[in-house]
């Protein structure tokens, strides 16, 4: 690792001020950033730690929504949403391994937007709102491609607000070495319809499979998806699975999600 200065922000305002320096970098739980720094793929002059900011910690439930502070760990989300939003709890409890879940944060995951991460599927599949230090961004506008988001330089995810669906499930085909999703599908049923969000599959990162949403609105059965096909062109192809394999898995995992909700 190249060396850097470390600064622990005490408040969001504090962190925003420290991140004005263009070579400063926000640090959540570090479960992606620290390995990245070890590989010398980044060279910030200052790391600004967000995990000690009280206003960014914890889970609150109000009016059919679950709001999670950006610096809340996966373990805490898993524990504290178990009754209010079980599908989100299960997703958080399946990220990485227990030690990773004790450090990694939801804000860090969403700011990084790894194309195989789990949280982007939950946020997009729930139509969540990404709350930052200066605005609120709808999940549909937030994810802008592999490792790309609507966040500006130095903008911080302070919280994420999930409207709680009538029912939901996350089906993850795990890549056993990395424990990321080879393909993961988040399916949620709201009063106004279904949302299907797919992670792990596309070169453009997480996406909504709107054809499946429409088909399920008409006929909520796994077989209703039999004639739908994802084109392999934009799928990720690597040593773990070809483009065609991932395209196939998207439908299979979506069908499993439907079965899980029936």
């Amino acid at each position: 690792m190249y060396n850097f200065d470390f600064q622990r922000a005490a408040s969001v305002a504090d962190a925003v001020a420290a991140l004005q320096d263009e070579d400063a970098q926000a640090l959540g739980g570090g479960q992606t950033l620290i390995p990245t720094l070890k590989a010398r793929l980044a060279q910030p002059t200052t790391l600004v730690s967000l995990t000690g900011i009280p206003e960014m910690l914890g889970v609150t439930v109000t009016d059919g929504a679950v709001t999670i502070g950006g610096a809340t760990t996966h373990a805490k989300v898993a524990a504290e949403t178990a009754t209010t939003y079980p599908a989100l709890s299960a997703l958080a409890g399946g990220i990485g391994d227990p030690a990773v879940r004790n450090r990694g944060t939801i804000g860090g995951s969403l700011a990084n937007n790894d194309p195989a991460a789990c949280y982007p599927a939950a946020a997009l599949g729930s139509g969540a709102t990404i709350v930052t230090d200066k605005r609120e961004i709808a999940a549909d506008d937030y994810f802008q491609g592999m490792f790309a988001t609507a966040l500006d330089e130095g903008e911080i995810v302070t919280a994420v607000r999930f409207p709680v669906p009538e029912k939901a499930t996350y089906q993850k085909f795990i890549q056993p070495a990395s424990r990321f999703a080879l393909v993961g599908v988040f399916l949620a049923k709201y009063a106004d319809g279904f949302r299907v969000a797919v992670t792990g599959a596309s070169e453009d990162g997480v996406f909504r499979w709107t054809e499946a949403e429409e088909a399920l609105a008409k006929d909520f059965r796994a077989d209703a998806l039999m004639d739908l096909h994802i084109l392999p062109d934009n799928m990720i192809g690597d040593i773990h699975g070809t483009k065609a394999y991932r395209a196939h898995l998207v439908r299979v995992m979506t069908q499993r999600a439907v079965e899980a909700l029936l």
Partner: protein, 161 residues
């Protein structure tokens, strides 16, 4: 350089570290607590698992400065003052839950964290919890048996066979 202070295995310790100093480096190189191992250095293998404020973490993927002001427990702190092994350590010995021993510190720390969270885990829950701890010798069977035994549950003859 920054000065960090933390409680490690019940003792207050301080040291000067760079921003980039990992917690595991601080433990091993500054404090000479070399029981915490570095296996992969990529947060895959779990040989470096320690507890920070009671939670199992991978000490290779946490900065020493992030641990400033915390309470850290390592494998060296698991036994009693008089050398009596902890329940988990004793069970690893009794059930031969190790071969080369390299992964053992992390296994013991993860197992101890699991039993605090879930005092009577099933075999499946134990295996799931150990997802982030890799052992290249034993194939995990005796480790799982040891943890079942440490939880005070019967170790079925067929367990983990």
């Amino acid at each position: 350089m920054a000065t960090v202070t933390m409680t490690v295995n019940g003792k207050s310790v301080s040291g000067d570290v760079e921003g980039r100093t990992l917690l595991v480096q601080f433990l091993r190189e500054n404090l000479k607590l070399t029981g915490t191992h570095v296996g992969c250095d990529t947060s895959q293998c779990g040989a470096c698992v320690v507890h920070v404020d009671g939670a199992a973490v991978k000490a290779c993927t946490m900065l020493a400065v992030e641990a400033d002001g915390t309470t850290v427990a390592t494998i060296e702190g698991q036994q009693a003052e008089d050398g009596t092994l902890s329940t988990v350590q004793k069970a690893f010995q009794d059930y031969h839950g190790l071969q080369c021993g390299f992964c053992t510190p992390g296994m013991v720390m993860s197992a101890t964290a699991l039993l605090k969270e879930n005092p009577k885990p099933t075999e499946a829950e134990i295996r799931h919890y150990l997802e982030g701890n890799i052992c290249r010798c034993t194939g995990y069977h005796n480790i799982v048996k040891a943890i079942l035994a440490a939880s005070g549950q019967e170790v079925p003859a067929i367990a983990a066979e």
